[in-house]
Amino acid sequence: MSILSERRTETRFTDYKAAWSIDQATVEANRCLYCYDAPCISKCPSAVNVPEFIRRIATGNLEGSAELILADNPLGMSCARVCPVEVLCSGSCVLPDMGLPAIEIGRLQRFVTDMALDGGWIFGDRAPATGKRVALVGAGPSSLACAWYLGRLGHKPVIFEKDRLLGGLNTTAIAPYKMKADRAIQEAEYLVAGADAEVRFGVDVGTDLPWAELERDFDAVFVGVGLGPDRLMARLPGSDLAGIEGAVEFIGQIKTREIDLRGLERTVVIGGGNTAVDLTRELLELGVPVVTLVYRREQSSMKGYQHEWEQAVKGGAKAHWRTTPVGFVGRGAVEGVRCVRLTEDLVPIDGSDFVVPADRVFVAIGQSRLGDLLEQVQDIQAPSGLVQVDEHGFTGRPGWYAGGDCVNGGREVVNAAAEGKAAALAIHQHLTGL
């Protein structure tokens, strides 16, 4: 991936939740009850003061509203669009107990954070330069959040990105009906500028640049490398057939370039997480006639959000539950997925095998972990491929911190932002003793 194509496929999508006008936002803001000790705050990983930012929309204090959100979550614009608010803040709103719709917190947050970003609003002054330099490895949400706070506190963040794009998966993996890549990059650029951070693209730390060198040249290191390539089902017969692809990789193509889906009639998506559900919705919206999800557990046990899956079903998604692939069939290119049914205990049922026809198969069973990247660095543990840290993102090796997917295994943007923020505050303390 280098730069975004103007004609990239994601531009065919429209926003699933369209931006609001000031009229819509004001009416909605006035519905908020301004709860005390509001449940929406405690449900937010970044602890954004939701009732207060909503009140500021209602009173017309839009800058104050954006300031409050961005103080707690510098990626507030992205999170407003990509957060699963149905299970976080809005999911805890008390209004449904009155039989009324929950406040649409995501859309309200988008309303003011879009304004902040488009208006270039930056709140408060950068602290005087401390002369301290911090290396951040990876340009995803956790590094961006960490760099933002470090920069505002007067330190010099230097971000190393092995690719050519800012934003990590926030740029290349968000469902395009929620946010497009260029918007994620705009936000990242706003954060980089506000933090006065330096970005070095095309540097694969650990390969192009030894970790030891990083430690030597910087006062602290933040590791936000995320996860690796899609895990594929390489052990299954037929897995080398053409047309079997990783879901995250494929979504990245939709997001960044123009892809050709002509002739694609039947696709299978393997997995039950949000990547699988997102890709199912995306394929349907791009006009693929048949999209079938194959997942080894019940629908109720899938990790993907039920509200997202319901949207996929509305779009025509089909599914085989409690079903697992045992091989791929085809001559040269994949033509189908051989599956077996599973018992309630997930044991294959003899003789239950059948073939789901498919001219393209997307594997969405997770991404590989990059913890062994840090094997050369002493005192950093990554037993199952995830970097071990305390609640401040501290790895155990003085000056070394980590956050985001490489720590949590793959969670929401808002979690990565919160972890980057926690690490930044810990790094600040480490560097200044304050």
Binding site: N30, V94, D97, M98
Partner: protein, 423 residues
């Protein structure tokens, strides 16, 4: 069906719903359209020496997304020639003989007043309403509230008109006074047949935050206006009741101020009005609001077994008491319905910060609890609760016989110990 025909100071109408003298009664066309939709009467936009108005004229207060809970205006009396208005009055009365058409008047000298009275009578007006109320513009010229604030001038001009008029004379009073009673009594002494109140409250409704000019803005200046709309209703109810309960004051009252639906109509009638007048609500939502007024009033009368307005006019007046005569031993405490509570905890923070800190939070539930031993029964929590009938005030038998503060002072009647004092 209950009879809602009305007689206020000898002016009769098919119902008590009258349009007040204001922009909705500027022309005969407007008034006839209103009568067609169900209004029983109309007080014509004040007649006088035609004015030149400014642009703009209205301001409004919005609150929590609700538009125009309070409204104000700097518009003056009619800007149309007297002859035009009189011709239209004649036409309206010809077509709507049973509806009440009242001419509002505002003039300077005695001769002008007397001339106008005769011409209005000739045009067929059912009554006159002398505008002693406008607190903007006209008062600077010695008219409107400038008259209403001086009992002697009020009485004198009332007498000029009452002495010559053969139709009922109402005096429209200004609320911009410390006590309404001397002003009602002045009109009574002058020979008025009734009073109408309130006119608007002198106000600045807002300031333009970027231009630093009071609104409504006229170029680079603004002026004080007359405040009206829903927000002034409590002021109006008090002034109506203050006159209605006075033993010295005996005139009929046409109630005005913030009326927009049938419940407000009932309130004004219960406090002694025999007709009501509406302007702002009709300006904000159109004449059609009268349909609900009539339907709601009829339903309410049926549910209480009232057959005509006189059955309930003034029923609340005897219950309007001095504070010192309230039963100080009467006690209520807040009661939260746990099934209805949605856990917003707004009652908690209101009681903590603005009440007596007698609602507590539990760690295992979002439903707050009332400490009845501390609750003083102030009602604050029940007013902030967003759920209808979730927090109610329940009566407590504290074992003390009824006693007022006055009885306590004069007779030593025991009163309950104070709650929520936190000594």
């Amino acid at each position: 069906m209950p009879d809602i025909s009305c007689n206020c100071a000898g002016i009769t109408a098919p119902n008590p719903f009258w349009l007040a003298s204001a922009p909705p009664t500027n022309t005969g066309d407007q008034i006839m359209r209103a009568f067609d939709l169900g209004w029983g009467g109309a007080v014509w936009k004040t007649l006088g020496d035609p004015v030149q108005n400014v642009s703009s004229r209205f301001g409004a207060i919005n609150h929590n997304g609700t538009r125009a809970i309070g409204f104000n205006n700097i518009e003056l009396i009619t800007d149309r020639p007297l002859e035009t208005n009189l011709r239209e009055i004649r036409e309206v009365k010809r077509l709507y003989p049973k509806h009440a058409v009242v001419a509002s008047l505002m003039f300077g000298g005695r001769d002008e007043w007397i001339d106008a009275v005769k011409r209005c009578e000739d045009a067929g007006a059912d009554g006159l309403e002398l505008n002693f109320g406008c607190p903007h513009g006209m008062c600077e010229r010695g008219m409107g509230s400038a008259v209403g604030q001086e009992p002697k001038i009020n009485e004198e001009i009332t007498r000029w008109v009452a002495d010559v008029a053969s139709i009922p004379v109402l005096i429209k009073l200004t609320p911009n006074v410390g006590d309404i009673l001397p002003h009602g009594l002045a009109s009574q002494r002058g020979g008025a047949d009734g009073v109408a109140l309130i006119n608007t409250v002198k106000s600045i409704i807002g300031v333009d935050l970027d231009r630093f000019v009071p609104v409504p803005r006229v170029g680079n200046k603004g002026s004080n206006g007359g405040y009206c709309g829903a927000a002034v209703r409590p002021i109006a109810l008090h002034m109506v009741a203050q006159l209605a309960r006075s033993k010295e004051f005996n005139l009929p009252i046409s109630g005005i101020g913030g009326i927009s639906d049938w419940r407000h109509v009932v309130e004004f009638l219960l406090l002694g009005s025999t007709s009501i007048q509406v302007a702002t609500a009709a300006m904000l939502q159109g004449f059609r609001i009268v349909e609900d007024m009539e339907s709601g009033l009829q339903s309410w009368m049926r549910s209480h077994g009232f057959e005509k307005l006189d059955d309930f006019v003034g029923l609340a007046v005897p219950n309007y008491s001095e504070w010192g005569d309230l039963d100080i031993n009467y006690e209520v405490v807040a009661d939260i319905d746990r099934d209805k509570c949605i856990g917003c905890q707004v009652c908690y923070v209101a009681c903590r910060d603005g009440g007596h800190d007698c609602i507590t939070l539990k760690s295992d539930s979002r439903i707050p609890e009332v400490d009845e031993k501390e609750c003083v029964g102030c009602n604050l929590c029940s007013h902030v609760c967003p759920v209808i009938d979730c927090i109610t005030m329940k009566e407590v038998d504290n074992g003390f016989a009824p006693a007022s503060w006055n009885e306590h002072l004069t007779k030593g009647t025991p009163i309950v110990p104070k709650k929520g004092v936190h000594e």
